[in-house]
Each structure stands twice: as structure tokens, then as C-alpha cells.
């Protein structure tokens, strides 16, 4: 479990599945912790510390090759468990088991991507049959956003209203969030996208 904003959170949203196509890796920050989220050739998502066990290069600068993530610096390859299984400079060596990326539990549910930074406790939050709209950064802390909407500090802020919005907040730092936005099925994505930009302007001006 992770303690953020003074409350205990199990699951933290880190993005929309459609923004991370098969074979790609992206960086995400959760409360100052840098993660590399990648999707293997077979389509499975993984969340690791964004730090190569070799010399600390960001793994999110690396590249996916089938079912392994390769570091861009010296090409060390890490398999689905995070274990290093190939070192290009020593092709005949079986790397020791201790060379291992730090991994977290990562789940998708209805196109939303969630990470558990500690022991998994409870179900992945459910956005229902809403459709993914987009992720956008907001220069406000998560507590300020929840307060603005007069909403409890849950992993999912459900606003209902005209667009039936559900916003999963990824608290990047104490002063910024990455907001993953979903809207009721059948909503016009462009209209909702522009509406949440307006919401962001209001939040940042508040």
C-alpha cells in the first residue's frame, strides 16, 4: 500500500492502454517515483522502476524487443520478470539472478492502466463502461483537485454530470497530476477533450 496525500492508496492510475501501443515504453511519475511502463510484443503491460540495474539509465529510454525490454545504454535485456537475461558485451554469460529490475503489479481494466506500488489490496478501481478520452497534466496537487470538485480523495474522481466523467488521478508530484479521463459511452470525444481542457484552466487558475 502506498501512502499519498495522507491517505492509503492501493491502486494508482498511470494511463490509457491505447496510448501505449504494443512494443512501446513510456515514463510515468508517481509521487516523485519514476516508473517505466511498457507493453510487450504479446500485449502485456509491465511497470518497473525507471532505472536500469546496470548503470541507472532510464529504462523508459529503452526499447521493447518482443517480450524483453532492452536498455538503450549498453543493451542489457530484461525479461518479463525483470530479470536480466542477456548482456551484449558478454553474449555467452548467463547473468546472475541478482541483476533484476524492480517491478510492480500492473493491471488493465476497461482500457485504464493501474499500478500497485505496494502489496495489492482490494480490486482495481472500476470505470464501468465509460470510454477513454485522454490523459492530461494539471499543475495542481491531487488534494486541491479533489477539494475543487468537493470530492473525497479517491483514486477515481467521478463527476457524472453532462459527460459522465471519471478522472483517475496520478499524483506525479505534490504540485502536479496526470489526469486520466474517461467519459460516458456515446460521448463525443472531441467535445469532452475540450471540456476537460477548460476544467484544467479553471483548476490551475483557482
Amino acid at each position: 500500500m502506498t501512502r499519498l496525500w495522507g491517505i492509503v492508496l492501493n491502486w494508482i492510475a498511470v494511463g490509457l492502454a491505447e496510448d501505449i501501443p504494443v512494443g512501446t515504453v513510456v515514463p510515468r511519475r508517481v509521487d516523485g517515483l519514476d516508473l517505466a511502463i511498457w507493453r510487450s510484443g504479446l500485449g502485456r503491460f509491465h511497470a518497473w522502476d525507471d532505472r536500469c540495474p546496470h548503470r541507472g539509465m532510464r529504462l523508459s529510454h529503452g526499447f521493447v524487443r518482443g517480450e524483453v525490454l532492452a536498455c538503450v545504454y549498453h543493451g542489457w535485456q530484461y525479461n518479463l520478470d525483470g530479470a536480466c537475461d542477456y548482456i551484449p558485451a558478454h553474449p555467452d554469460l548467463t547473468p546472475p539472478k541478482t541483476i533484476c529490475a524492480n517491478t510492480y503489479v500492473c493491471e488493465t481494466r476497461n482500457q485504464a492502466l493501474w499500478v500497485a506500488l505496494g502489496t495489492v489490496n482490494g480490486d482495481v478501481p472500476d470505470i464501468g463502461d465509460r470510454i477513454p478520452i485522454r490523459s492530461l497534466d494539471i499543475s495542481c496537487g491531487a488534494p486541491a483537485i479533489a477539494r475543487y470538485f468537493d470530492h473525497p480523495q479517491d483514486p477515481l474522481i467521478v463527476l457524472r454530470g453532462k459527460y459522465d466523467l471519471a478522472i483517475a488521478l496520478q499524483p506525479s508530484t505534490s504540485r502536479s497530476c496526470f489526469a486520466h479521463v474517461f467519459a460516458g459511452a456515446g460521448q463525443d470525444k472531441k467535445i469532452v477533450s475540450r471540456y476537460v481542457e477548460k476544467l484544467r484552466d479553471e483548476l490551475e487558475a483557482a
Binding site: 494511463g15 490509457l16 496510448d19 501505449i20 501501443p21 512494443g23 512501446t24 513510456v26 515514463p27 510515468r28 511519475r29 529503452g62 526499447f63 521493447v64 524487443r65 532492452a70 538503450v72 485522454r134 490523459s135 492530461l136 497534466d137 506525479s172 496526470f178 470525444k189 472531441k190 477533450s193 475540450r194 481542457e197
Partner: protein, 203 residues
Amino acid sequence: MILYDYVLSASCYKIRLMAALSGQKLELQAVNFHPAREHKSPEMLKLNPGGTLPILRDEDLIMTDSSDMLRHLTRNLPEWQGDDDGWLDFARTLNETLGMARLHDVLGFEVDIDAARKRGVHLLRLLEAHLTEQRFDGMIFLTGDTPTIADIACFPNTALAPDGGVSLDVYPSIRLWMRALRSLPGFIEMPGIHRLHELEAAE
């Protein structure tokens, strides 16, 4: 065609990239922009009194504006033309903000760095919003589902934003757009902008 070129310049790279993607050969004439300030030398000023780079020379025609150069290179290539005008202007503002932030960080230029970064972030948000709407319509590029000079004009200063201290981590649609550009046949690199490693590995 001769391009008076500086390898670290985002605007020079724009022209090299456009030529490479459209299979045209440029004769490159390296100009020592930094530290020698060769672009302000008497010979260069004779060519371009404005004292800027890049300069593109096609016989008697001398161009000093990178948008003009992109148009010139694609004048007979309709597939590279779209609804580009607004984006060429947008590319200019990217150069004045993210581009200047980078020159500040990389070459020590004197710039109001906080203002440059702040305006740069504002532009990236506009770019992200537009590219997200394009994706809703099933398109990955700025003006359609194939790249045009609009994309080539906006790409370099966007991709180099981190060199000026502006992160691209929070722009999923910009990242996918850059990925699509980086995987185009004929794509060339510059320091700070790389091809997709996945493609290299497959060769």
C-alpha cells in the same frame, strides 16, 4: 542545392530531414555557428544580410526562411503538402520558445529562460490537444494521415524540448506522433534525435 548548415541547429535539421525524406540530395556547407559565429562573417552576410542559418541556395535563388525552404523542396511533391500555413507559423513560435530554451541550456545563450519554457509548455499543450483530436479521427499527423511540411516544420524543436529543460513525458499524442515520424523511410538523425532502435535491430 546547397544548404549552409550547422549540425546542432534545429532549423537546419528541418531542411536536411525534408530533403532526406523526399529523396533529394543537398550539398552541405558546414558553417561554424558556435563558437566561431561564422554566420556573421562578411562572406555569409553577403549571402544573407540577416545573418541567420540555415541558408538554402538553388542556383540564383537564395532562401533564408526555413518555411520557404520546405515549400521550395516540396513544390513538385503534392503528397507533402497539406493545410500547412498555420503550422508553419506555429513552428516559428516553437523556435522562439523551446528553441531558445535549448540554445540557453546547450550553448549558453542569454534568454529569459523561465518565460521561454513557460510559453513552450503552453505550445506543447496546444500541439497535444490537436494531435489528440487527430487521433480521435484516426489520423496520426498534423494535417492528415500522411506527413506534410507542417509535421517536418514542428518536429525538431518539439523533439529537442528536453534539451531546453522541458519534458515531453506528459504528452502521449505528441510522443506517438514523434514515433510515427521517426519511423518514416529515409528518416535521418541529429544529435538529440534518434531513429527508432526497434527498426535498427530489425535490419
